[in-house]
Symmetry: C2
Subunit: 420 residues, 2 copies
């Protein structure tokens, strides 16, 4: 659909200083003393963030419309405005002790793309849309990735509207209160393709000294609660041979969770994050240990293989020790591969711009995972300091932020086409 | 010092039914719906228990005196009343969800010995004393084994008096309130030797099908707090190779605690009872894990060898993984061997009475541990169901309770001598 691009397009670059200034200005809304941001979904601060981004978009000539779950769509018309939009976006809500970049970068990188097109008087063939998605973080309301999930039909608008925070406020009431209960039916927009720029939230790019991560997809996840039942007894009077120590069996299985991840590499991940010991007393042999298991891998087949491995290991351990081991499924998020054409567009853009790049997978969920259910989707990762996010010390380098936005610009231009 | 015993002495037996009836009557004070006892130290219920036992002792012709930490001494004169007393005793306070036998059995077995001597009009050469020791359990006030500890000079009366419960009540005020702040200076009594009868609180006797445990001593104990420091990170975006997972290192050390106990058998014991994971979130790789270590063995040298083993293993693990491991000593209770003559007296009594018996060690602390610092001491264990105590389902068989009291009777008679 793309018209022949003018020769000058290849040299087009976003304005890194302007992007940085916008990031810092948005980060003032909900700024924490430690340098982070607390801007919970549908709070007064979230309203202020939405107001600011909406104003910037309007100033950049875009029109804002809001749907019934509060997703905001800022549209820049294309020459052929009936074409489905080339969309980008992310979220502007944060964790309670969140950083300046998670989500916010994806929204403001998209704004910077539009500002750059404006600077050069460029019209795209297809329209361009910039979205913020409501409540990606899920800190205040569950489920997480709420706005994009409703948009993609992963769950219903009614389900999302009914979610309540700890104070009993519902999503619907809070949307109304902050003025962002829109009229549009979620998912009613035509999306030609979707790109999302995001800090990696992991250490891989930094570890490799690479600027751009070309994201191939998002890992599938299975969560379990595991319980090992032994016999609570006094640590003193009970000889080793007569113990039924639930923790000693549980720790062997906790080791196996990591071994399973290594057996199903390179993308296999296994984590025990949460442990409860009963009765949790210094001189009592644990009678019961409950712990979480988080398994991830690049395809549902690989996650399934890890699941089978886990169950086999646990059954053998239970048989060997005589202690019952219960494994209860908690959640199951399928793996999501991104679209080959979108992946290729990101890779081509990074190559053209001369940035070091590598294929990566996303271990965490993003709005792009749900968008991938309704449109060809790709993601662009940039490094974040020490791989840390969901933390007030979350940090990213201006040159990486700029590079990611340039890749977004050129990937979107490739897909939208330049009208000349 | 013993005069020649009358020939009938060898056939002397306590009254098992009377012992059982007394145990059941005392267990009504603080009885819980689940069949246990809650009689916390220096509570109104503890007063009622003391009143009842004191009344029984008085009815059995004994004189009661109370010292300044509330220990009660019930004395039956000897023919040569200037000889140091042959003493027995235990405690009548319980855990919040305690059983009918822990402590109470040791006191009432001693009472039954005196009642039996009365039944047969027997006078001993040396006086016999029966003690209850204040606050053995330590549930309401610390330190544990408070009354016997003050008696033996392990810590001062002032220190014990100043201890407060969670509501701010001091030991001294509560002793006064319940009428058991006596006048005697703790430790001012001459103790010729001390025997204590107790349920095993462990599974060894039951496992061996043996009635009497001849206790050789009490294991030495060292308590530690161990902290492994890693790096908190998202479970999703962090590949296995780039993790610094504190729990994975901590679980290896938890396994080693048990391996160390096995390497220092047969009495080595190693327990991890308490675990805290930070931040303890399902999808966050643990950044820090803190856990308790409890090491026990039959001599201070063996406990010291386990300590060195632990430190060596931890240092190697820290070097191998690059994660710092801190080991903080919390408490150190030396091992306490009982007196060869008292051990032999218990063994001879069990042999004479035809009860199956075996040498055992006590893994838990008892008042006898402190008494052993001031007088030759021995202990008699009997089985308890499934080795369970500190639990409302704590249980013991009447024939075992009877057997233990018979062994106590004959061991005390051997040491006190029968005047005829």
């Amino acid at each position: 659909m793309a018209a022949a691009a003018p020769a000058c397009i290849d040299t087009l670059r976003i304005d890194g200083a302007r992007l940085w200034a916008s990031l810092m200005e948005l980060a003032r809304i909900g700024a924490t003393p430690k340098g982070g941001v607390c801007r919970l979904a549908l709070s007064d601060l979230d309203r202020q963030g939405r107001d600011l981004v909406g104003r910037w978009a309007t100033e950049a000539g875009m029109t804002l419309s809001v749907d019934r779950i509060g997703n905001g769509f800022m549209r820049r018309p294309g020459r052929n405005d009936r074409l489905p939009a080339v969309m980008t976006g992310s979220h502007i809500d944060t964790q309670p002790t969140g950083g300046k970049f998670d989500g916010n970068y994806g929204v403001l990188a998209g704004l910077e793309v539009v500002r750059t097109l404006n600077d050069h008087g460029l019209t795209t063939e297809a329209p361009i849309e910039l979205a913020w998605w409501t409540n990606e973080e899920g800190s205040r309301f569950v489920p997480v990735m709420m706005g994009s999930g409703v948009f993609a039909g992963a769950f219903t608008l009614e389900h999302a509207h009914a979610a309540r925070d700890l104070d009993g406020h519902s999503v619907k009431d809070e949307l109304q209160r902050i003025g962002y209960l829109g009229a549009d039916r979620p998912g009613a927009r035509a999306v030609g393709c979707y790109f999302e720029t995001h800090i990696e939230q992991g250490p891989v790019l930094e570890d490799h000294g690479v600027t751009i991560g070309v994201v191939g997809g998002v890992l599938g996840i299975r969560w379990y609660d595991c319980t090992v039942t032994g016999l609570e007894a006094h640590a003193g009077p009970t000889p080793m041979a007569l113990r039924r120590d639930a923790l000693q069996v549980a720790t062997r299985l906790m080791q196996e969770v990591v071994a399973i991840a290594h057996r199903h590499g390179p993308h296999g991940r296994g984590t025990v994050g949460m442990v409860q010991v009963f009765p949790n007393s210094r001189n009592v042999i644990p009678g019961r240990v409950k712990f979480s298991i988080d398994l991830r891998n690049a395809s549902d087949a690989l996650v399934g293989a890890m699941d089978a491995d886990l169950r086999g290991v646990a059954a053998k351990l239970a048989a060997d020790t005589g202690l019952p081991i219960g494994i209860e499924p908690v959640s199951d998020y399928p793996a999501q591969a991104f679209h080959p054409e979108c992946i290729a567009a990101v890779q081509r853009a990074a190559t053209k711009l001369g940035y070091s790049h590598m294929p990566v997978v996303s271990g965490a969920g993003h709005d792009a995972v749900y968008l991938a259910r309704v449109a060809p989707t790709g993601m662009i990762f940039i490094p974040c300091k020490d791989g840390i996010s969901h933390n007030e010390i979350e940090d990213a380098q201006p040159e990486h932020l700029e590079a990611g936005a340039n890749v977004l610009l050129h990937a979107m231009l490739e897909r939208a086409g330049v009208a000349g």
